[in-house]
């Protein structure tokens, strides 16, 4: 489903003011599912600076735009493990679409964009990380053909 008027493109430094609030919302959302994901008091400027560093260090950042307004965003990292046959993969770390723009396939298109990066770096695996208890994300990625791959267990002291 391709919604007319939705533009998906790479994030530039001058987009970061519009992107930062979406990142904050992404973490606030995940906080709902697991207190271990509780966020700090997040200042948009602080978030913006982190994003800038990550953009410069080679992370993949895409945004969705409607009539010049940023309505969705995705950040992925390139992860390496030299011991594995598949020694590189793209890992989606953050993905958020504003509520009023959901159910239009925007998140799916952002993911497709990240998927295109695989070929460029010679990787075959696209991964997504989110809190285990986030059932919304769990359902969403399963629907897009993702499967369980890595488990992270924590013990709080």
């Amino acid at each position: 489903m391709y919604e007319p008027g939705v533009v998906i493109r790479e994030v530039r430094v001058d987009d970061l003011d519009s992107v930062a609030p979406l990142v904050i919302r992404f973490y606030r959302f995940n906080e709902e599912f697991d207190p271990a994901w509780s966020t700090k008091e997040l200042d948009p400027d602080f978030v913006k600076n982190i994003l800038k560093e990550r953009l410069e260090s080679g992370d993949l950042l895409y945004l969705a735009e409607v009539e010049g307004r940023v309505v969705g965003f995705l950040r992925a990292e390139i992860r390496a493990n030299p011991f594995l046959e598949e020694d590189k993969m793209v890992v989606i770390k953050e993905l958020y679409v504003k509520p009023e723009y959901r159910r239009r396939g925007i998140a799916r298109r952002l993911i497709e964009e990240a998927n295109k990066a695989l070929e460029k770096i010679g990787a075959k695996i696209l991964a997504a990380e989110f809190p285990s208890l986030n059932t919304v994300a769990d359902d969403f990625y399963k629907k897009l053909g993702f499967r369980r791959y890595l488990s992270t267990y924590i013990r709080e002291v």
Binding site: R28, E32, K98, P99
Partner: protein, 449 residues
């Protein structure tokens, strides 16, 4: 209101509940002249209707009292303003509802209180008891569980399911809004409507207003944290914890207001306010109403004390004020709808109650008031005007037939006559019992005014 002496309804009620030991009982409606008659109504004769129904379960609506019997179901999680009082404590309330169903609608209603608080268990219970009943009236269930249970029950059951706190209040409110709009020369479908409070009544009203033809963007809904808005801080949390509020926020786009807007901003220039929130006075402020559009309409439905006193609302400029109270003009009273709603759907053996049927009921109530002559202090009929009930029943029944959701067909006039006959006969039977003294006189009473 110039009250001489406040009646102590609580102690009177307690005393009389004990005296009468409950409020309803079952009474045969077939000839029992001699012992042999039981061979018709019970064994061996009853085996034949049983065989017929076994071949076709739908015949249970023809050969048994199922067609006119509903369950008044509650888990006791939100009883009146009392909260989670438990199923046993909900019983007298359900029994009271059953009394009104019978008296005003000729509907046989059975109180059914239970311990299935878990929504899935609750739904399973409804599915399991469906064969006994022609309809289900849900009552006094906490929010937001009540939305899920009603939605799911409507899907899973092939008999009408109604939650009075949602559809009942919403329908009678719509009836009042239709007439109030006429009196203030408004097009309801083009009015800006503010719903204050996002509980069962207003969330259902939102849905019914949309079905009536009001665009979602004309509506603003506020909960205790302010306007339901797609950019609200807790919006993603709502998606999980309260999808109904979430949906409203998205569809209304927060009425074009800023994310943090409160009632003062929401009411600026608004045509209509429907408050169904927490008891006042002072929940709604006069200053907010004074900023509304010309001749604004204010419904303050909280009980026992409305969100704002009617005279305060009027002083602030409200043209028409309605409340939930019988001692003020324009009482928004569910009892105007639910007995007749079920009379109508039961008479055509309807499979469900749609929002369109609720709207038909609201329009019938509004039309009846217009025939009597509406004015600022009379936008809705009162419970004493029982001629309204057959009209509502007829409107609902014909809508059910029109929508292809009735097991039996009928016409408006046919149902009007049938409803009059059934309700009239119930009253006559009751009056005979009362006049004969078989229903004893109350040992204590209140002074009639």
């Amino acid at each position: 209101m110039s009250e001489k002496k406040e009646i102590d309804w609580y102690s009177l009620s307690l005393r009389l509940h004990k005296f009468y030991e409950g409020k309803i009982e079952t009474i045969p409606k077939v000839p029992v002249r001699r012992l042999n008659d039981f061979a018709i109504w019970y064994t061996p004769g009853v085996a034949e209707p049983s065989r017929q129904i076994s071949k076709n379960p739908e015949e249970s609506f023809e050969y048994t009292s199922r067609w006119n019997t509903i369950a008044v179901v509650s888990d006791g999680t939100r009883v009146l303003g009392l909260g989670k009082v438990g199923p046993e404590a909900a019983y007298p309330v359900m029994e009271g509802k059953a009394l009104i169903f019978k008296f005003l609608g000729g509907v046989d209603a059975i109180p059914l209180v239970h311990r299935a608080r878990d929504p899935e268990k609750f739904l399973e219970l409804l599915e399991l008891i469906e064969p006994s009943f022609g309809g289900i009236n849900l009552e006094d269930i906490e929010s937001p569980k009540c939305f899920y249970i009603l939605e799911e029950a409507r899907k899973r059951l092939s008999i009408p399911v109604w939650h009075d706190d949602q559809q009942g209040t919403a329908s009678v409110t719509l009836a009042g809004l239709i007439n109030a709009s006429i009196l203030t020369n408004r097009d309801l479908k083009k009015s800006r409507i503010v719903l204050f409070g996002a509980g069962a009544a207003n969330i259902a009203l939102y849905r019914i207003l949309k079905a009536y033809g009001v665009p979602a963007e004309n509506i603003v809904v506020l909960d205790s944290k302010g306007v339901l808005h797609p950019d609200r801080d807790d919006i993603d949390k709502l998606m999980i914890s309260h999808p109904w509020k979430y949906k409203i926020a998205i569809e209304t786009k927060g009425g074009g207001l800023k994310p943090g807007a409160g009632p003062a901003e929401a009411l600026e220039g608004a045509d209509i306010l429907v408050a169904a929130s927490k008891p006042g006075p002072g929940t709604i402020k006069k200053e907010w109403i004074s900023k509304m559009a010309r001749d604004p309409i204010v419904f303050a439905e909280a009980n026992p004390v409305p969100e704002i006193w009617p005279w305060e609302a009027k002083e602030a400029g409200a043209k028409i004020v309605a409340t939930g109270r019988s001692d003020f003009p324009n009482q928004v009273n569910n009892s105007l709808i639910f007995p007749a709603m079920f009379r109508g759907v039961l008479d055509v053996r309807a499979k469900t109650i749609t929002d369109e049927m609720a709207i038909a009921a609201a329009e019938a109530v509004a039309e009846y008031a217009r025939l009597k002559g509406i004015n600022e202090d009379y936008i809705l009929p009162t419970m004493e005007e029982w001629e309204v009930y057959p009209r509502v029943a007829a409107a609902v029944a014909t809508k059910a037939v029109e929508q292809g959701l009735a097991r039996r067909t009928t016409t408006y006039n046919e149902e009007l006559e049938r409803a009059k006959e059934i309700i009239g006969r119930t009253r006559e039977k009751y009056l005979k019992l009362w006049e004969s003294g078989l229903i004893p006189k109350p040992p204590v009473d209140y002074e009639e005014r």
